[in-house]
């Protein structure tokens, strides 16, 4: 429009809505909040991986001046909660199952006093034989980590589980056993992947307050106010209407805050003292008490014909779930769904289980079971290319899934930019030249690729769009922006749906007393799912605007058109125009309030096809739409030290449509670097069940000097027709293919294939010298 600034919305690389607050230190995260009379709390962790609590004496701690409450497992309700199996309590009751498991909590007038008092609690334990590995958990006669497992409340359909087994699932298509005979080449290997710590920079934190009626208000770092509300209701035995969950800005989560963290115990301390209580974990407590990515062992066998056609793929994965079940069943199910990868392979047998061990619980972490299996599958495809002397990108292109093909399980893929991703990384990387590039003296040089697939979709999602009296907009979704930028993206979708500038859209912070339902931030879903809800809610508001306008104009609603900048007019009559303010103002007098558009949905695409695939104990009937990517990594390996230096990463992702290209790039770059940490240096380690590196000094997160300068994000747009403005998600995929791409590049450089993460200099050097 002449004379007016361009409307800022979908497709623009806009700064985050909260960028100003964040750069100025004005964003108030949970630990930045203070309430009158507020107490500070600290937790005590178990010193043993597996032990019975014999006795506990808290009298000295209680006597310390400033201490207002001490709670142990004996003082709290024995209400258990969980993702699929209700096996957790806010503090260990009778038995401790991992080192660091919270066993006591103290609230005091200041944090130093609370921590000092922890040292005054006397516990007596009877040590039990800990179960520390997958093999130990599955061994005949292994000690039962949960002796009352049979009595726990579970989601239906878990099937018969072996001792210490949390879940067992399979997806079978075709006839793998018969298919091996058709293969000219078969590769087989076992891959091991480690536990990775989330290390969001904001440790888990909650602030709880209880009013006279018993209603609880909890500010906390989380990924879903409604999961917090539901879990607290379960843990505390309170009706949901008595639990209000609010989310201040969240300092990173990556899946680590998707379940309940410290909220229940914080509320219990607030109930006990009658005062507001804040509990923020120390970094070490956070790393020892909360959760990690699942360590796993993946046995994979893949076969192809001489021309590179993939024929059969068999994968069995065992995820180490740690001491509590949490989301392990979903991680396993999703891992299996991703285990074939974005390839047409007619015969697949994907099986797996998750088991309890006496270690930190494992939970969702960017990729959600996918990086573990992809580390195996993508290395096997690479190995087949080597064996057949084919180019690894050509081999992938030959077998690449396309729009209209079927995912494992029988769901039709509705938009697939996988080929474009492979072609674009090939071109951007100048692949033929770099595949031949000579190494410097004392170095080996290599470059290779991994394919990536993931989903976005899942469960309940809703949005409310309100047109205020002055024509500005309030958007309320209940979705939590954990740092990835979804608030901004949703405001962009809202603005463009209404053809307004984003400056006119106000976003409501998540509050379970006010926000519509949202299942959570996870599964790469917010842009796609909540974006759809926002677009439709805006559409519903527009219908009402049209109706009001038609009554004012005395024309048919169909003759009312939306015009830029918050106006409607009559089609073909430029001078007939009304502003949103005029219409909303009228609505307040005619219908008694603002114009409110709402929409709610769950993922509504195709279900899996049980006639086509045998899906045993699979936890999802339908899950989402598929996203794709391809990642090329170039490395230099030092012949003397085994150090892998990453020279370049090209990471192409099919995002449907980039709502905010800079934010999309940020997700890709951040995912790549987290993936490089997973590939090269990050590993939570234990010795006899004791964590050996639960600090940021001992657990290495990549810093600015450890990170390659050349990370090249590439956006591929495949236009998903069900997505808002064609968009899909991008939150997780940037991490998923990095580790296998690095391992493939190292294999290209050295001729040695490493099957265990991380690829430390020691492990690379050992493998090279063993050659």
């Amino acid at each position: 429009m002449d004379g007016e600034a361009k409307l800022r919305g979908v497709g623009d690389s806009l700064p985050r809505l909260d960028a100003g607050d964040k750069v100025g230190g004005r964003a108030r995260y949970t630990d930045d909040l203070f309430r009158p009379g507020m107490l500070h709390a600290a937790l005590m962790g178990s010193p043993y991986p597996f032990a019975r609590i014999i006795s506990c004496d808290t009298s000295e701690a209680l006597a310390l001046p400033g201490v207002k409450a001490v709670l142990t497992g004996a003082d709290i309700p024995a209400n258990r909660w969980g993702g699929f199996i209700n096996d957790e309590t806010a503090l260990a009751i009778d038995i401790v199952r991992y080192v660091g498991e919270p066993i006591a909590a103290i609230a005091a007038t200041d944090l130093a006093t609370a921590r000092e008092a922890l040292d005054l609690i006397e516990f007596e334990f009877e040590e039990l034989d800990p179960v520390l590995t997958i093999d130990a958990a599955m061994a005949d006669g292994a000690p039962l980590i949960h002796e009352n497992f049979a009595e726990y409340e579970k989601r239906p359909g878990q099937g018969d589980l072996a001792p210490n087994q949390v879940s067992r699932q399979s997806i079978i298509e075709g006839d793998v056993e018969a298919a091996w005979a058709d293969c000219n080449v078969v590769v087989e290997n076992t891959y091991e992947v480690q536990a990775q710590s989330h290390v969001y920079i904001e440790p888990c934190s909650a602030l709880a307050e209880v009013d006279e009626s018993g209603k609880v208000t909890v500010w906390s770092a989380n990924q879903s106010i409604y999961k917090v509300q539901a879990s607290l209701s379960k843990a505390l035995g309170l009706p949901m209407s008595k639990v209000r969950a609010i989310t201040p800005p969240v300092g990173g989560a990556f899946g680590g805050k998707s379940g309940v963290t410290v909220q229940p115990i914080t509320v219990m301390l607030a109930q006990k003292t009658g005062r507001p209580v804040k509990l923020t974990l120390s970094r070490t407590d956070d790393m020892m008490m909360m959760r990690s990515r699942h360590a796993a062992r993946v046995r994979v066998r893949t076969g192809a014909m001489a021309d590179g056609t993939l024929v059969a793929h068999e994968l069995d994965v065992i995820y180490d779930g740690g001491a509590y079940a949490e989301d392990s069943a979903a991680v396993l199910g999703f891992g299996l769904l991703m285990a074939r990868g974005p390839y047409n392979i007619p015969h697949v047998k994907l099986t797996g289980s998750a088991v309890y061990t006496n270690k930190l619980r494992a939970g969702g972490f960017r990729g959600f079971g996918n990086p573990q299996v992809t580390f195996g599958t993508e290395q096997q495809i690479d190995e087949i290319a080597v064996r057949l002397k084919m180019d690894p990108i050509d081999l992938r292109l030959k077998n690449a899934l396309q729009t209209g093909d079927l995912w494992v399980g029988g769901q039709t893929v509705t938009s697939c930019g996988f080929r474009e991703c492979l072609e674009q990384v090939r071109d951007a990387a100048d692949w033929p030249t770099r595949r031949q590039a000579p190494a410097a003296n004392g170095k080996r040089r290599g470059i290779s690729v991994a394919g990536v697939s993931h989903i976005c979709g899942l469960l309940g999602t809703s949005a409310i769009v309100r047109v205020l009296e002055d024509g500005t907009i309030t958007l309320n979704t209940g979705a939590v922006d954990i740092g990835q930028g979804s608030d901004t993206v949703l405001a962009q979708i809202c603005a463009s749906s209404l053809r307004l500038d984003i400056g006119r859209v106000n976003l409501v912070a998540p509050d379970s007393d006010a926000s519509p339902y949202n299942w959570g931030t996870g599964g790469t879903r917010v842009t796609y799912m909540v974006g759809r809800a926002v677009e439709s809610a805006a559409g519903a508001a527009l219908e009402q605007i049209r109706q009001h306008a038609s009554e004012i104009f005395e024309c048919a609603p169909a003759d009312v058109e939306l015009r830029d900048g918050g106006h409607v007019g009559i089609v073909g009559v430029p001078e007939k125009e009304l502003s949103f303010a005029e219409i909303s103002g009228r609505a307040h007098y005619v219908t008694g309030g603002p114009i409110i558009g709402t929409h709610a949905l769950v993922y509504d695409g195709q279900e899996f096809d049980p006639k086509r695939a045998l899906m045993d104990h699979f936890p999802f009937a339908r899950i989402g739409t598929y996203v794709f990517g391809a990642q090329v990594v170039e490395v230099e390996v030092d012949e003397v030290t085994g150090q892998v230096e990453v020279l370049n990463v090209w990471s192409a992702h099919d995002v449907g449509r980039a709502i905010n290209p800079a934010a999309v790039e940020g997700q890709i770059q951040g995912g790549v670097v987290q993936g490089l940490g997973y590939a090269l240096c990050e590993e939570l380690t234990w010795e006899d069940g004791q964590p050996t590196n639960p600090t940021m000094m001992d657990y290495k997160v990549p810093g600015a000097l450890d990170t390659p300068t050349n990370i090249h994000p590439i956006i591929v747009e495949s236009e998903e027709e069900t997505g808002p403005f064609g968009a899909k998600g991008v939150g997780e995929p940037g991490l998923v293919g990095v580790a296998p791409a690095v391992a493939n590049a190292v294999a290209h450089a050295t001729g040695v294939r490493l099957t265990r993460l991380p690829l430390t200099p020691e492990s690379v050097l050992r493998a090279m010298t063993a050659e």
Binding site: D21, V23, E202, G483, Q669, G670, V673
Partner: protein
């Protein structure tokens, strides 16, 4: 433990806070003075989210005893907000999409303001070195570095 009344020069103002002798500067800034822009990410001097200026030099507030800061000038992100260098750094970060969760951001702003005040063009490597003590788990550093290089002028990536 006994508390003494500590007098600190923070952001150009003399501030008093009752403090334990073991309290760190970060404890006093956050819990005593409610200057919460400095974040507690690790409390062990690794993550850099608590970076402040002490007598004009970057320091980790979690590693300094508050009592040792008496008689010195402490500048937090809240105090830097008034300065031109900070405004330019903040704008560059915001406009380049360098902010995600934001928890590391105040520390990074402080580190980059220190680099800006040093004067002269900063190369990509200079920028990376200046924030090498600031862990960002979200961004992969790329956009932070791009923002700083675009602002502070420098050589292009040396392709190391």
């Amino acid at each position: 433990m006994k508390r003494t009344l500590l007098e600190l020069n923070v952001n150009g103002e003399l501030q008093q806070a009752p403090t334990r002798p073991t309290a760190t500067l970060l404890d006093v800034l956050r819990d005593g003075l409610h200057l919460t822009g400095s974040k507690r990410g690790c409390d062990q001097g690794v993550c850099g989210a608590c970076t402040v200026l002490v007598d004009g030099r970057p320091a980790r507030a979690c590693l300094m005893l508050a009592v040792d800061c008496q008689g010195r000038r402490v500048t937090t992100i809240e105090g830097l907000n008034e300065s031109g260098e900070a405004a330019a750094v903040q704008q560059a970060l915001a406009e380049n999409g360098a902010i995600q969760c934001g928890y590391c951001t105040p520390g990074i702003v402080v580190a980059l303001v220190d680099l800006a005040r040093a004067g002269g063009g900063a190369s990509e490597n200079d920028v990376r070195r200046s924030i090498s003590g600031n862990i960002c788990r979200c961004s992969g550093y790329v956009k932070i570095v791009e923002a700083a290089v675009s602002l502070l002028g420098g050589k292009a990536s040396d392709g190391r």
